[in-house]
């Protein structure tokens, strides 16, 4: 423990004091770990690099010569996608249903998680487990019934249909994550707020939600992630108006074979939103992936 690195008074807080940063870091074999991490990151990035590399080449270069970087740099593939509504509407559709899904997920999961973290009620454990089982439901099992269900209520090929379908696995996960974070907030805070005359909704929005802001962020991140990367359900439930970008990519298969350059460019563009999200949450990633359970 380093007294100097701490604010006065911090040392008396159990749980904080021994985590001071400066004391003799454990000496791992520095060189070995650098080698391991470099190899691992190269393994992760090489396929992505290859996609990027191809997206910047012409089809002639892709097919006729094997080049490690674009000799004939072109942005034509990106231009094709960004100027053709049939292409870029796929991105817009995806972003719309992902956003709707994140909002619905949080709105219904927050009160439920609060109930699970604070109260015992009839059937609570069974309900909680049943919710979690939905996270385990294979999308393939639900593809056909969903298709029929949403067709019968005239929601087929709408953004809301995909958003609702994704709630099947996002809501249970969000409830689980939020419940974990909420358990960490002492109950006395609720009680104090009620004594101070807060109504439940006001307490929840004004006091409680800021306290679990990081948990809400993590839940939103996961809802975004699973909704963004899913294809089977979103493809089954849409045909034209709400077709996701991932499904649009099959357009590249034409009469003249596959348009590799455009396919690669479309792929690269699907990575961008994820990369942006990661960049914004970079400081919370490790804790976030542990779902508040460390």
């Amino acid at each position: 423990m380093t007294d100097t690195a701490q604010a006065p008074g911090a040392a008396s807080l159990p749980g904080r004091a021994t985590e001071a940063p400066a004391v003799a870091r454990r000496k791992l074999p520095i060189k070995g770990s650098v080698v391991v991490m470099t190899l691992y990151l190269v393994f992760l990035l090489l396929p992505i690099y290859w996609l990027l590399n191809m997206s910047l080449k012409t089809n002639t270069e892709i097919l006729n010569s094997f080049t490690l970087w674009p000799r004939d740099l072109t942005f034509a593939n990106y231009a094709t996608i960004l100027t053709d509504p049939a292409w870029y509407s796929g991105y817009i559709n995806s972003l719309i249903y992902v956003s709707i899904n994140v909002v619905i997920t949080l709105v219904v999961a927050l009160p439920a998680a609060y109930a699970f973290s604070r109260y015992h009620f009839m059937g609570d454990k069974h309900l909680f487990f049943w919710l979690l089982t939905n996270r385990m439901a294979p999308p393939a099992v639900f593809a056909l019934p969903f298709f029929q269900l949403y067709s019968s209520v005239n929601l087929f090929d709408t953004h809301i249909a995909v958003a609702l379908a994704h709630c099947l696995f996002n809501v249970p996960l969000a409830v689980w994550i939020l419940e974990g974070f909420m358990r960490g907030v002492p109950k006395e805070i609720d009680e104090t707020a009620y004594i101070d005359g807060y109504s439940f909704p006001r307490f929840f929005v004004k006091i409680f939600m800021p306290l679990i802001a990081s948990g809400i962020g993590v839940a939103a991140f996961f809802a975004f992630m699973f909704s963004w990367v899913e294809l089977l359900l979103s493809r089954t439930l849409t045909s034209v108006d709400a077709k996701p970008i991932a499904a649009t990519m099959t357009r590249t298969v034409g009469a003249a074979g596959i348009d590799w350059g455009v396919l690669a460019a479309a792929g690269v563009l699907t990575i961008v939103p994820g990369a942006l999200v990661i960049y914004f949450v970079r400081n919370y990633i490790a804790k976030g992936f542990a779902l508040g359970r460390v």
């Binding site: 423990m1 021994t18 004391v23 454990r26 791992l28 770990s33 391991v36 991490m37 691992y40 090489l46 396929p47 992505i48 290859w50 996609l51 094997f66 619905i104 219904v108 009160p111 439920a112 604070r118 109260y119 015992h120 009620f121 009839m122 979690l132 089982t133 385990m136 439901a137 294979p138 999308p139 393939a140 099992v141 639900f142 019934p145 269900l149 609702l164 379908a165 809501v171 409830v175 963004w228 899913e230 294809l231 089977l232 970008i245 991932a246 499904a247 990519m249 590799w260 792929g267 699907t270 994820g274 990369a275 990661i278 970079r282 490790a286 804790k287 992936f289 542990a290 359970r293 460390v294």
Partner: protein
């Protein structure tokens, strides 16, 4: 935390209940409905009892797919869990390089699954893919659309590429929560690197590792898009996992009865195994007093 009994809490979970019931219970009813009926078309159905279940249970098709599925999940768990831990142990502890590694490692997790398939489909091609070209150039006969082993290797390496980071991130979060004092005590006790891992790091990671194993088991057991894009389930049926087979049956051949029976049994298997994990995990939680 000691919770109070409050039946009104039901009102708070009601929205979730309605929503999930709408998107889970109704479709499941449809599936159950199909699984016990037969049709000759024209939306005319008649009662078939457990016929479809018997048919599926006695057909090799489902058992083969199940076998492949179990083999796949077992292999990727056996690779990803130890590899993820190993990577986590080698990650920088703090500062710029820690963020740098975290950001890059998270990248594959947010790529749409069919694009993951596309990336590897391209990467492995002998004519235009770096991996395929290189393997071909050094004289290894590699063709994932024709060769059984190449197809499996590609699908497994792809999954390792896609998901090992999740395990590593979870393990890393577990490691970060270990106070420095433990490492200092281990030094004083003259514990070897292995003992530090075995008696300090591993026990502290157990909780998050259980989450990692559960998530990886469930998701690998439900895998569909990535192998479908790369191999389409082939060559032959060699990479036709349960979901791929199910979609083929339901949406491809419209064999609704067998597909529904298949779905139900598939779901039950996942539930059973997940229930075991869940029980183990909550027991761990209790023991740690989290």
């Amino acid at each position: 935390m000691n919770k109070t009994v409050n039946q009104k809490a039901w009102f708070l979970v009601l929205p979730v209940l309605v929503l999930v019931a709408f998107s889970a219970v109704i479709p499941l009813m449809t599936v159950v409905n199909y699984s016990v009926q037969d049709t000759f078309g024209n939306n005319v159905f008649f009662w078939a009892g457990l016929e479809w279940f018997e048919e599926m249970l006695s057909s090799d098709r489902m058992w083969d797919a199940l076998g492949r599925q179990i083999a796949f999940s077992a292999i990727i768990l056996a690779i990803e869990i130890p590899l993820g831990i190993f990577v986590a142990l080698n990650m920088p502890k703090s500062g710029f390089w820690a963020s740098f590694c975290l950001v890059l490692m998270s990248l594959p997790l947010l790529i749409p699954w069919n694009v993951v398939g596309t990336i590897w489909q391209i990467f492995g091609r002998v004519d235009i893919g770096l991996l395929g070209y290189t393997l071909d150039a050094i004289g290894i006969n590699y063709n994932y659309t024709q060769d059984f082993y190449a197809a499996w290797a590609t699908v497994i390496v792809m999954d390792v590429w896609h998901w090992t980071s999740l395990v590593a991130l979870l393990a890393y979060a577990g490691l970060q929560s270990i106070p420095d004092a433990y490492y200092q005590a281990a030094k004083i006790d003259q514990a070897s690197r292995w003992k530090v891992f075995r008696y300090i790091e591993l026990p502290k990671m157990m909780g998050v590792l259980m989450i990692a194993i559960l998530l990886r088991f469930m998701d690998s057991f439900m895998i569909y898009t990535e192998p479908f894009v790369v191999t389409g389930g082939g060559p032959g049926n060699s990479t036709t996992f349960l979901s791929i087979d199910l979609v083929k049956m339901a949406l491809g051949q419209f064999d609704l009865g067998p597909a529904a029976a298949f779905s139900i049994m598939y779901y039950l298997v996942i539930l059973l195994i997940s229930w075991v994990f869940y029980t183990v995990m909550t027991n761990l939680d209790k023991r740690d007093g989290v």
